[in-house]
Symmetry: C2
Subunit: 332 residues, 2 copies
DNA sequence: CATGTATATACTCTCTTTGAGAATATTAAG
DNA sequence: CTTAATATTCTCAAAGAGAGTATATACATG
């Protein structure tokens, strides 16, 4: 009640920042496009820029900024989340104490054309989240950070708070029944941030590139936006055929599988993956085959757009292969 | 390249609007909280207000506004989407030609406490989207709007454009193979908007309440935000136990089923629903039973929070019952 | 030209999940 | 003591998911 009129006047000056997570898959690795500088000057950052008057739509503004900074033109674009909490904010970049709102976007492109505008470079995204790559079994970093996580759980004075932390850890990192869930990327990042395991470039006095934290830092909130993007993409892949935005016009089933594995960060069972793709009617023959693979030539297929209309949820509802190498070597 | 410096200067004045879709389920009906006025004065609108400096977080600002306007305090809150396209904007509400950014939120509450701040009222959400309620079979409105949709598909001059429209219609409304998909609410609304079937209060000269369009109009972009909310909720219900945010502390399985049916807008198969809920371990006994139901008393159960930790995706992966009454009476 | 190896593709088998219906239990009302 | 109404459980078939194994094709090497 009391807030009614007071709030009306105080609508402060706001800068809106459009930030892009641009993803591609090359040679079976998931990559993200980064620029040098960002807010701090040295740390890696995502392409971004302020919303301006001439941008008719938000997405248009994003495309303009990305093209200007990286030379990359975007295909598939999707809004992720809007960040605007004051606590998260660092030294306001010439905004004169005003608030900064960051709207994060996910963009999918086909091939990394490396030499672009200026300092844009592609990086394997697991560089920023080493604990997310389970393709060759449980990643080693997890063993390293485990003590810190356990300590964090045991830290609080009250038993209730400890239990709450245990539960949160269980959900995020799959300890405690549920098992690792590949699309809880953001929850894991947030928790790791809280624990102090990851440090960003512009705060906590960490160094520019690889501070004392786990994984490479980024400027501002960008690593969090990247985590949001990965989580979204990993979730979406299951019920929408978004992988194909990352594939060349013609590709083999193995390439497709490796792309999915790269994004999901886990190995898949080959026969089942092929069956799934084929019976979903997601691809069709091109007639051509690959050459010089060292083995039997693979058929080249292409995405079948009709699948969008036929299936209610045309995606790749993949689950991890339970192969021998993914055994947990957590505590030994 | 050319845009580089020009954009930096033109970052215009921006007003950020926080808008809430507040959902509850009472008596098996999905309801949304609306206020009179909004931007135009007469049309129904969602609770909303500008972001102010004293709001430390966006969510906090939203809660403050909702409480001030409706007296309702919020529990579960989730960000939906940020709208900011200039084309969509109407007469700028005293923003002096500046841009208005709308951040939409979804909130779930337990019981509609009706008499609140001032003019807040609860409405069945199918009032705004009559074509979305398939609980008692295919809704009649669909037959009414079908001619307009077909005409829209046939309208373009080029065959390619017609094919593209046919495909889009097929995906959204389930003509053409896929069948009706309950979570494509937004796609259907956008398409209906494009076709001219729905009209909003502040544009196209439509009347305040029930114009010539299908379903009740809302102020500004609010009906679109509501559509986004319903779509999100219908999707989320499948892999996260969000329904329980809407249930009282103790409830019967039938009440739970009816709540899910209300949200999803489709009938469910009772025995299968029960099996799903029980084997997922989502609920536990309270020991109590209902009385005076006119039949065998039902057990009262409560939500079992441990399910969050145990299951990777604890939701109600429901699909429509194909009962006799859902037969299509489209063309006869 | 035979052989080994790497890759692609096909087939089979089992176990679980899902969709649908029927059957049984428990109360209130006539 | 029947009947109606609702809650709860059981059964059964069909489809789907997970995993293992076998065969086909091309290239490299001796």
């Amino acid at each position: 009640m009391k807030t009614g009129t007071a709030q009306h006047r105080a609508s402060a000056s706001v800068t809106v920042d459009l930030t892009a997570v641009i993803v591609a898959v090359t040679d079976g690795q998931p990559r993200v496009l980064t620029v040098a500088g960002g807010t701090s000057g040295s740390a890696e950052a995502l392409p971004s820029g302020p919303l301006a008057r001439q941008h008719r739509t938000l997405e248009q503004g994003l495309r303009a900024w990305v093209e200007a900074q990286t030379g990359q033109s975007l295909g598939y674009v999707e809004q992720l989340y809007t960040f605007g909490d004051l606590d998260r904010q660092l030294a306001p970049p010439s905004a004169g104490g005003g608030r900064v709102l960051s709207i994060g976007y996910l963009a999918l492109v086909r091939e990394p054309r490396d030499r672009s505008g200026d300092a844009a470079t592609w990086h394997d995204w697991y560089r920023y989240f080493p604990w997310e790559d389970w393709r060759r079994g449980r990643p080693d970093v997890l063993a390293d950070i485990e003590p810190a996580l356990s300590a964090w759980v045991r830290a609080p004075a009250t038993a209730g708070e400890r239990e709450s932390r245990r539960e949160r850890l269980g959900v995020a990192f799959g300890t405690g029944g549920g098992g690792w869930s590949e699309d809880r990327v953001l929850e894991r990042y947030e928790l790791a941030y809280e624990v102090g395991l990851v440090q960003e470039a512009d705060r906590e006095g960490a160094a520019g590139t690889a501070g004392p934290g786990v994984g490479v830092a980024m400027g501002g909130d960008h690593r969090r936006i990247l985590a949001t993007a990965i989580a979204r993409l990993r979730g979406k892949i299951k019920y929408r055929p978004v992988v194909f935005e990352l594939m060349p016009p013609a590709f083999t089933l193995l390439q497709l599988q490796q792309a999915v594995e790269a994004l999901a960060g886990m190995p898949l069972h080959k026969p089942n993956f092929r069956r799934l793709v084929e019976q979903q009617g997601l691809v069709e023959e091109t007639g051509a085959v690959t050459l010089g693979t060292g083995g039997r030539p693979a058929r080249l297929v292409r995405f079948r757009r009709e699948a969008l209309v036929e299936r209610p949820a045309p995606g790749l509802r993949v689950r991890a292969r339970s192969g021998r190498r993914s055994g947990s070597r957590s505590s030994s």
